[in-house]
Point group: C2
Chain length 243, copies 2
């Protein structure tokens, strides 16, 4: 499995993905699942993938190849006029790859299936995030649903539900994502460090604020340990219930 | 779905189950999933069920019927000499019901499948808990795996992993289960209040320490609200991470 979150706050967007890929417990490796494209001053696009690795790599390669020389090749992710059109292109490319791999056509529980989070900003448009399904259709983030998760989403959801606040700073948002990822890693072997992290500030059109957070990262370690301690302390303060 | 936890601590056993049963979002109801049998001074047995309601109700009815007049009917849950034999009986009964319902025999992703947690104490034996699979086989709780979950298990697992301590009091164990259930309820519509709670103290052979925890229960409400506040406070104290 995989775990990725794309989140919108007032200041911009924050993305985080893990890097573990596995086909069974005896066959696992580290693989990047976060990819960015940008044109300074004009657009910044981030894509994160979950699902069949052959599918997601083929999809990224197609998008990548078509964006390398955008003058010659259409459709290119660097020439779409809006984020909505980017999401359409990603959806179409994803569906194309899945259908190509499936001898009998696409089915809902397809072994070649994958999901994608695509977010960013183009020109005058607001920063936004889409969740793209294997069928190629997609939904957009809203103020009511300010984050999307793909992959192994359940373990890390309760803290997101409780602590998300659209007014939070980037630092707080990163902290929240790290806690959500740490809870998942502690409960599920198919999600693993290091994590890829990216912060996108509204109107910056800059995809360079990226970082890989490893097991030995001192801040991650203190968040992981600190969160365990903080939970136990918080837990002590709750009222007791007796039967 | 469903959510049930059976946990062992040094002082004894604690069980909690939700009560929501649903066949689709437009067809849901409240149904008890916790059942107890006891013979004062000799045995105390608690069973919790998850899965197809027709299957689990039939299984409980068979166990119930056979225990009503144990002299006449065998095998009875009230005559098994050990908890291990109780688990075998529960497994056999569960499998019997599932196979009966399946026109083409049992398959692994059977729509009639169900899982069961059975725990308790008989005579000189220690208190213990088993997790029974639809195939009728089962695993026993150990010091390394001090709790079993069935149903919608992922949302509530991180806090159990972090805060479990075998030396905790019953009051703290109940608090822990309530927090785990509250996290699940806040993230998943298929798990719902009220919760059934039961505390079993080692060598008491008493199944009467039961309680139904409803939405309006003041202690539950203060734990639910208090936990949200405590998480946010704990979260503030963590170190910040910037990119």
């Amino acid at each position: 499995m995989t775990y990725c979150i794309g989140m919108r706050i007032n200041k911009g967007l924050v993305f985080m993905s893990d890097t573990r890929t596995s086909a069974g417990v005896d066959n696992f490796a580290t693989s990047k699942k976060m990819f960015t494209w940008s044109t300074p001053g004009e657009r910044a696009i981030t894509i994160m993938t979950a699902g069949n690795l052959a599918t997601t790599q083929a999809m990224i390669s197609l998008l990548e190849e078509r964006s390398k020389s955008p003058e010659d090749r259409d459709p290119s992710i660097l020439r779409q006029p809006t984020m909505f059109q980017v999401a359409r292109l990603v959806g179409a490319t994803l569906k194309e790859v899945i259908v190509d791999s499936s001898p009998t056509g696409q089915t809902s529980d397809d072994q070649f299936a994958a999901s994608v989070i695509v977010g960013g900003q183009i020109g005058e448009g607001p920063p936004t995030v889409f969740l793209v399904y294997p069928q190629g259709n997609f939904i957009e983030i809203t103020d009511d649903t300010p984050f999307f998760q793909i992959g192994e989403t359940k373990y890390g959801k309760p803290i997101l539900v409780r602590a998300y606040d659209r007014n939070m700073s980037f630092e707080e948002a990163i902290k929240l994502l790290l806690v959500s990822f740490d809870s998942t890693v502690k409960s599920n072997l198919s999600v693993g460090l290091p994590f890829d992290l990216m912060v996108y500030e509204t109107d910056s059109f800059d995809t360079s604020r990226q970082k890989r957070v490893g097991k030995d990262d001192p801040v991650y370690q203190s968040i992981s340990t600190g969160w365990g301690d903080a939970l136990r302390d918080a837990f002590q303060l709750l009222p007791s219930y007796s039967v």
